[in-house]
Amino acid sequence: MNTNVPAFIQAINDSAVGEWMRHSLKAMPIVEAAHVLAIATVFGTILIVDLRLLGFAGMQRNYRVLSREMLPKTWIAFVAAVITGLLMFAPNAITYYGNTAFRLKMLGLVLAGLNMAAFHLLTERSSGWNGDAKAPTAGRVAAVMSILLWLAIIFLGRWIGFTKGYDFSVPENVEFEF
């Protein structure tokens, strides 16, 4: 029992799912690969929308048509990423909770969510943009923020696997499998 972590982190760590993931040999590579597939789809579909906002690609199509087509795919992939992410988190919840890269990644996800919400609720509704040509300035800023945040989320995600609970100061006697 570790007293430095919140009860819900401890509960996730001790859950049946966590226990199963700790002891199943084949589950982890499959779940990790599914996570890569999910995050790749999230990033790729968001990139299509962001590049359209910036006016870099897909300009022959109206933004509203394009985003209506892409966003459902983004959300399906995001839900898959959350489920597979939780499956990876559960077996080592306490270690991940204290990991700097993990915390920064969660912060990145919150910021990406806020950026998206501000764009959809404020910019998209109030700017009067009809979706032709490139987006107004606020929309292009949101697109740049979105690309940078998702890149940071992907890199931090890979960093978690390398630093585990040690944040790069790995003790001599610990062997890592990447």
């Binding site: 890199f155 995600g157 960093w159 390398f162």
Partner: protein
């Protein structure tokens, strides 16, 4: 093969890649970002063949939009992949997943080009069911490549005795 991998692992270049602790996660990060571009480009091409996206435009327009991104990102993946492999040649050579992945990449690239040719031959607006089925298979091959890529790090767990890792 193992002789070559052992030699490669002992070269100064390989040693330099291994000793820069930050380099491997950085390259893998770039590799994953590129998976996003490659996979979603293939996904869009396949979904267009099924008429599920961009049905309002001709296929060739979808192809022109995504094919350059697909090939460019694939080139970046080849570069990051080669540097990563030079850093860990023995682990790569002894992973069954690695050899399966390399074989499937050849098949996947050729089959995407094959889809392009098949659709180009279609007269009229409807793409035949056989081509649509082939497109789904092509998508599954790309998904298999992603799974095999992650499985390289777990070769013994995934393949057991089939793994080329000496026990």
């Amino acid at each position: 093969m193992f002789g070559f991998a052992n030699w490669l692992g002992s070269t100064a270049l390989s040693q330099a890649i291994q000793s820069a602790l930050w380099l491997t996660p950085l390259l893998q990060g770039i590799h994953i970002v590129m998976i996003g571009i490659v996979f979603v480009s293939v996904l869009m091409i396949v979904l267009r063949i099924h008429g599920r996206v961009r049905a309002d435009e001709p296929f060739v327009q979808t192809w022109k939009r995504f094919a350059p991104w697909l090939w460019s990102a694939l080139c970046v993946m080849a570069v990051t992949g080669i540097i990563l492999s030079i850093g860990e040649p023995v682990r790569q050579a002894s992973a069954l997943s690695f050899w399966l992945k390399m074989s499937l990449i050849v098949i996947a690239v050729l089959s995407v080009l094959g889809l392009r040719r098949a659709v180009a031959r279609v007269a009229g607006p409807t793409i035949p069911a056989s081509t649509r089925f082939a497109a789904t298979v092509v998508l599954l091959v790309w998904i298999a490549i992603i799974f095999l890529g992650r499985a390289i790090a777990y070769d013994v767990e995934v393949w057991g005795a089939l793994s080329l890792h000496q026990a």
